[in-house]
Amino acid sequence: MGQLWLIAFRNLLSHGKRSLLLGAAIAGVTTLLVFLGCLSSGVKKTMLESATTVATGHFNVGGFYKVTAGQSAPLVTDYKKIQAIVEKTLPDLDYVTARGRGWARLVSDTASMQVGIAGVELAHEPMLPKVLKMKEGKLEDLGKPGNILIFASQAKKLKVKTGDNMVFSVLTDRGVNNTVDVRVAGVAEDMGLMTSWNVFLPQETLNRLDQTNDSTTGALLIYLKNMKRIPEDMDLLRKALTDNGYTVMDRASKAFWMKLQEVNREEWTGQKLDLTTWEDEISYVSWTLQAIDGLSFLLTTVLLVIIAVGIMNTLWIAIRERTREIGTLRAIGMRRRGVMMMFVLEAFCLGALGTAAGAALGCLISLGLDAAQIPVPEGAQFFTMSTHLRFALVPSRIFGGAAVITLCCTLISLIPSLRAARMRPVTAISHLS
């Protein structure tokens, strides 16, 4: 077997130009695949970071409260009882926090915009200070009633800075118009697309705006020590809540606000709880990931087909050039399987070296671009989910991609290799190249 490896490797070296060209093509495809994979992973990482900071926990106990059949609000009443059940039920719980949910018009002296409001109690948000990067102002000031934390893109749009005053205007869940004056406590750096329409407000101020009491919240955000346990923990909690007499809605992979219309149409009143994962809450933007992954797949497939044709051609030429050599080897006792393996290993070596070089190059480019913090044009931010290009190296994805391309190269070489192995020694020796 060692000899076969040696022959294959030497053959690649003896046809240096041809091998280099083909290897470069394989490396190019691998680079592209790794690059797109790192971009996709970067987008996913940004989504996870911004989603679990701004809008959702690893999973959530949200819900809807309906005063009448036609009026629903994304509220969880008497949430402390539910929080106690969560803390008692989940063995893998890191922490749980209550977040208010609201939707209102934020008006500055010069502009206005619709924003989603996250009502927070800063003392119960251990992750926020770690994740949010302040551009100006202090995050601690968000603890004071009447203060608001906005993001850089919002500050730009509303033309405000720390210390400026704004007004929230809302039609409450009971249909009364209400307003609350707020002061900008600080401006945080953007964290992807979601931070362009979400702001933080102290829970007390949100309650005052929405006219809800302090035993009511928007959702309980649950953070686990191990995110892989989300499905099991959700099942556990669903059972516990049902056992405690709560009505839990059927699972639907949609953000809570996408369910409002459906809930409005249903003829029930009172409280229903809804369990959602972080992926459900950002399902409306997950298409960007699917688009990037789809594009990677399409591009890689097309390029792989081109490479496959190239490898087959190269091997056909090699077999034609080495027909007498094949005949001689067969005459001195090499089996058909050995001949086949000789060519297959040659393709494998070419594939492996090409993909290794390509993967290394792809990783270097991705790391370089990530470090360069290249700003993304506003229109393209919908795809990248971030104001800067972000790349994340995920080893399983990189090695997986390289392995697939190498496997394709090897498999495609089977056809010419089998043809070479089937040659009769007499015919092969008498072949005139």
Binding site: G70, V107, A111, V167, L171, T172, V176, N177, V180, Q211
Partner: protein
């Protein structure tokens, strides 16, 4: 059977004509003339036949008596309630009502949007429907009130959405209440602020506070009522927090004799609404024509609106 052509009121205006007056606010009130007059077909017989008319005449008598009821330029509570009831009665249509409405929306940094809509009302059954006819992108969209729910239909998606009946109509500063009958006397407690001048008009400035238990979009409203006619000329809506949300002017009132009511039906021919939160936004509503002929029985249904949307 072919329906009769609708009878439109004579004094209606085209949107283009109205648009020339776009910058009118209080100036409009300064220049506009008082529109009050006695019912065209006033007679003792019809007066005896119509209960609604009795209220209308009663309201007229009240206007004459108000100076006697008030002293030193103030109004007592019963007088103020009567004024509000008078407005409610005058704008209420006991039969069917159809109006062609022009809505022009001005928003900062956005192009102006003009819409035409048909407003259908059957006040006796609390029915209301708004069907947009222009521009093309808005045609077929509509609102339908069923009980206390306002349903919104968008033909592009073919779905009905339940909305709160206090929301902005088509994203403008107008609300359902601007197109519907009013119930001010039952919903609010009035308080007299002062007698003052609004442009050339002598007006009573009232503050209305929502009665306990009433679900109201604006819990506090300030009203400027023309002393001579009893028409409200200016209205300011306040949020629960006490902040001024919007100011609307109704400089032009029109009336139309209603056979079913046996009295005149009054309507605001022009409403100018100014957003007091987003200062640059405003909306102009012009009621171009009103038709009081009976509407088809099944008109206030989702199916009817859907057929019109196709």
């Amino acid at each position: 059977m072919k329906r009769k052509e609708p009878i439109y009121h004579q004094g209606t205006k085209a949107p283009s004509e109205a648009k020339k007056e776009i910058n009118l606010s209080l100036k409009c009130l300064l220049k506009s003339e008082s529109k009050i007059s006695l019912p065209k077909r006033f007679s003792l017989v019809s007066w005896c036949l119509g209960g609604e008319q009795l209220l209308t005449i009663g309201f007229g008598v009240l206007l004459l008596l108000v100076p006697c009821l008030s002293f030193a330029g103030t109004l007592d509570k019963p007088a103020m309630v009567e004024i509000l009831r008078g407005i409610d009665v005058r704008v209420k249509s006991s039969g069917d009502y159809k109006a062609l409405v022009y809505i022009e929306q001005h928003e900062k940094d956005k192009p102006d949007v003009a819409r035409d809509a048909l407003v259908y009302r059957r006040d006796a059954d609390q029915k209301l429907m708004i069907l947009f006819t222009k521009p093309k992108t808005e045609a077929g969209k509509g609102y339908l009130r069923v009980d206390r729910n306002l349903w919104y239909y968008d033909p592009t998606v073919g779905k009905w959405e339940r909305r709160t009946d206090r929301e902005r109509i088509a994203g403008t500063d107008s609300r359902r209440q601007d197109f519907d009958q009013s119930d001010l006397a039952n919903e609010y407690d009035p308080e007299f602020i002062k007698e003052e001048k609004l442009g050339n008009f002598d007006v009573w400035h009232l503050k209305l506070t929502g009665k306990p238990g009433k679900d109201l979009a604006y819990p506090i409203v300030e009203f400027w009522v023309d002393e001579a006619t009893g028409n409200d000329l200016k209205r300011q809506d306040f949020a629960l927090s006490g902040r001024l949300m919007r100011t609307s002017y109704s400089p032009k009132w029109q009336k139309l004799y209603s056979e079913s009511k046996k009295a005149d039906l009054w309507y605001r021919q022009e409403i100018r609404i100014f957003d007091e939160i987003d200062k640059a936004n405003s909306t102009l509503v012009i009621i171009q024509s009103v038709d009081l002929q009976p509407l088809p029985e099944n008109i206030f249904t989702k199916a009817w609106l859907e057929t019109k949307s196709r």
